[in-house]
């Protein structure tokens, strides 16, 4: 081959390469020029729920960037319009009204948590908008809104399904436990979890020997744990928030709580900073979770997402690993985005119909909504902490530390029972 020919080929190659790049870029470029699709929401960026709210926002921004990299939705780029509700429900109606009436957003999604979701409902319902929501417990039991879609995998009967797995797990053990203590923080989620547990305990014929609530601002939990110990229960079901979850676990270790199964609905044990601090004190606890890095839960895309999250969350003062909430914050937008692409319009009725009948593939696995907008089948995972070493954050990024015991479909190990003798 002559040098000239070689040179020519080389040249053509480069031109073709450049063309290919130009073409690849053309998609997004064209998308940028079109009118963007605006998605509006309020989020708790300050106040009590800011920890979750900020992590959720990071996940949502990753989704937005991913979608825009692929050319947006319907060929239009996606834009967010969001405001800080400061964890104050009173701000929420104003924010959604502003989003819809002034900013004229095309789609809305919810803030994080029941308290911040419910105040938006009347406004969203009046406009008959599809409302993907993030971690509201049984909000739609009250509103019965047929365009509400809740991404937390609580299940069709959220209040009882929430702890159902915990009880099935407990009752399969030999010898069969007979008594249970239920303790919960005086706040919305924890009390609902406890109420569900109470119902389940009755259903399965367990004797409730202790049933009390405590104020969230409690400083020392040892008297509570001692009072529980005094009733000598086989099972201890706890519904708690991050600060009190830590307090409960520490107190249980200090008092030497003797029970066969301990845990249930403790929020906070899913967060890396708290896991790192509690370390080996966690071992044996069986608690709910939504996603853990076990081999049975390696859904397509989740690892790439978490890698991006880890990068984005650096130095932001939010959960560094992002296992619990962020994948779901990404997924509830995935559901919305996929629906928009599928029905090829922003028509809310069509979107709602599509979301009711479709099984979505998301980073949290297959999502199928039931009639009331909750997951058709519950996927509350019950995981047990195992071989946790002291003062090590990285151990929780890999498998083996939080073994999935229930449901069977996702099971990655067997229970160690009883919790402590």
């Amino acid at each position: 081959m002559s040098d000239t020919l070689k040179g020519m080929l080389h040249f053509t190659g480069r031109v073709l390469g450049a063309l290919a790049i130009a073409l690849a870029l053309a998609g997004p470029v064209a998308a940028q020029e079109k009118k963007p699709i605006k998605i509006g929401f309020s989020m708790a960026l300050t106040g009590g729920l800011a920890g979750a709210g900020k992590a959720a926002l990071i996940a949502m921004e990753i989704w937005r960037d991913d979608v825009n990299k692929k050319g947006g939705l319907l060929g239009r780029p996606v834009e967010f319009v969001y405001y800080d509700d400061a964890t104050q429900p009173a701000k929420v109606p104003g924010i959604y009204s502003k989003l819809l009436d002034v900013d004229k957003v095309d789609l809305v999604v919810s803030s994080y948590g029941t308290n911040e979701i419910a105040p938006a409902m009347p406004i969203v319902m009046r406009k008959k908008l599809v409302f993907p929501s993030l971690f509201g417990l049984a909000v739609n039991d009250e509103f019965n809104y047929d365009r509400y879609f809740q991404i937390m995998p609580a299940g069709p009967k959220p209040k009882t399904d929430w702890s159902g797995g915990f009880f099935e797990l407990a009752l399969a053990q030999k010898p069969r436990p007979t008594t249970i203590a239920i303790v919960a923080a005086d706040a919305e989620f924890a009390l609902n979890a406890a109420a569900g547990a109470r119902e389940n305990a009755k259903k399965f014929g367990l004797k409730i020997v202790y049933d009390r609530t405590y104020p969230p601002a409690t400083t020392d939990f040892t008297p509570i744990v001692r009072a529980i110990q005094a009733t000598n229960p086989d099972i201890v079901y706890v519904g708690s928030y991050p600060p009190d979850s830590t307090g409960m676990v520490k107190a249980a270790n200090e008092v030497g709580l003797k029970t066969k199964l301990f845990g249930g609905g403790m929020v906070g044990l899913q967060f890396a900073a708290i896991q790192k601090n509690l370390g080996p004190m966690l071992n044996g606890i069986v608690n709910y979770d939504f996603w853990v890095p076990e081999p049975t839960l390696k859904f397509p895309g989740v690892e790439q997402f978490l890698a991006k999250y880890k990068e984005a969350a650096k130095d932001k003062g939010v959960d560094p690993l992002g296992h619990y909430l962020p994948p779901y914050a990404y997924a509830y937008l995935e559901v919305l985005g996929q629906s928009v692409e599928a029905v090829k319009s922003l028509d809310q009725a069509k979107l709602a119909a599509h979301m009711h009948k479709t099984t979505f593939d998301t980073v949290v696995g297959k999502v199928k909504f039931g009639k009331n907008g909750e997951w058709e089948r519950s996927r509350v995972l019950f995981v047990q902490f195992r071989d946790v070493k002291p003062d090590n954050l990285e151990q929780f990024a890999g498998p083996g530390k939080r073994v999935v015991l229930h449901p069977k479909e996702w099971k990655s190990g067997d229970i160690v029972y009883p919790y402590k003798k």
Partner: protein, 314 residues
């Protein structure tokens, strides 16, 4: 002449508000205005005791929450219409105000402040454990889409709130400029001297705590219908108490118009910041504004205006 100007403008504002609901104005503004009006009532109410007599109420949020929970309980039990719920809330909170005042107003001012703080925590604990109104789990109040002759429910709430606010302002002005108001001012300036001069201090103070409590209850009564989900954490929100103190301080506590100016200004600013900056800076700005105002203009905006007025017309 002066009285008729005042009543005329009250009527005018109300009619303007009513007219606003008949125009095609954006529903967002009703939501935003509702929040500002609610804060205005709270500020005006707080000032009746805090500004006129100098007794600091830390527990404003408790009165507000009791108002909200009174209307939840009666709505659930008897399905009473909103105006009756508001009256009931006023009665209950007025009684609580009277009770707290009776227990502690014979003491120095700081004790009263601490007593209101303690009362707020005790009441919150009771609500937490009162399962009929949802307890700590919270409670949903569903509202109809339309109401009477209003297109939307929020328009109705807005008009109700506007009427209540104007009534609160009128009452506060009446108290401020009446014999009663002069008695209160005497208490603020020197309680002992007032007592010696024959001012029935305890009775006057009890009147003002009762009015304050009732007004705060009134501000809280429609709240459940505004947010549709109420739990103790949001009803006993610290922000409610902080705003109730900060707004009169910024506006000026000595004159009845002070809390109104403060509430309208700070309330609107908070609303604007929420939808423009929308981040931690939001809260930071409120804090900085409060500190700056309090240090540089301790008499509030009204005080500044009076100073200016004197300088020009002297």
């Amino acid at each position: 002449m002066k009285i008729s100007v005042f009543w005329g403008s009250i009527a005018l504002v109300f009619l303007a508000g009513l007219g606003l609901t008949q125009t095609a104005v954006n529903p967002y503004y009703f939501n935003a205005l509702y929040v500002i009006l609610q804060a205005t009532i709270m500020a005006v109410a707080w000032n009746i005791l805090g500004g006129f007599t100098g007794y600091v109420n830390f527990g404003s949020a408790a009165f507000f929450a009791v108002g909200a929970y009174t209307s939840i309980a009666l709505d659930k039990a008897l399905g009473l219409p909103l105006p009756l719920l508001i009256l009931a809330a006023a009665a209950v909170c007025g009684l609580i105000g009277l009770g707290v005042g009776y227990l502690t107003l014979r003491l120095k001012g700081v004790y009263f402040a601490i007593a209101t703080l303690a009362m707020a925590i005790v009441i919150e604990t009771f609500v937490n454990n009162w399962s009929y109104v949802g307890g700590a789990r919270g409670v949903y109040i569903l509202t109809p889409e339309k109401h009477l002759w209003f297109d939307t429910y929020i328009e109705m709430l807005f008009v109700v709130m506007l009427g209540l606010t104007l009534a609160a302002v009128a009452i506060s002005r009446q108290l401020n400029s009446s014999r009663l108001g002069r008695g209160l001012a005497a208490i603020r300036d020197d309680e002992l001297a007032a007592e010696c001069a024959g001012v029935p201090t305890l009775r006057l103070k009890l009147v003002s705590t009762t009015v304050m409590g009732a007004m705060m209850g009134v501000a809280g009564a429609p709240y459940p219908f505004f947010v549709t989900f109420v739990d103790p954490i949001s009803a006993f929100n610290l922000f409610v108490a902080v705003n109730a103190i900060a707004m009169p301080m910024i506006g000026g506590t000595a004159h009845w118009i002070g809390p109104v100016i403060g509430a309208l200004l700070v309330g609107s600013l908070q609303e604007i910041i929420t939808v423009t900056i929308s981040s931690e800076l939001n809260v930071l700005l409120v804090g900085i504004m409060l500190v700056l105002f309090i240090t540089l203009a301790p008499q509030g905006i009204v005080g500044l205006a009076q100073k200016l007025h004197r300088r020009i017309f002297r």
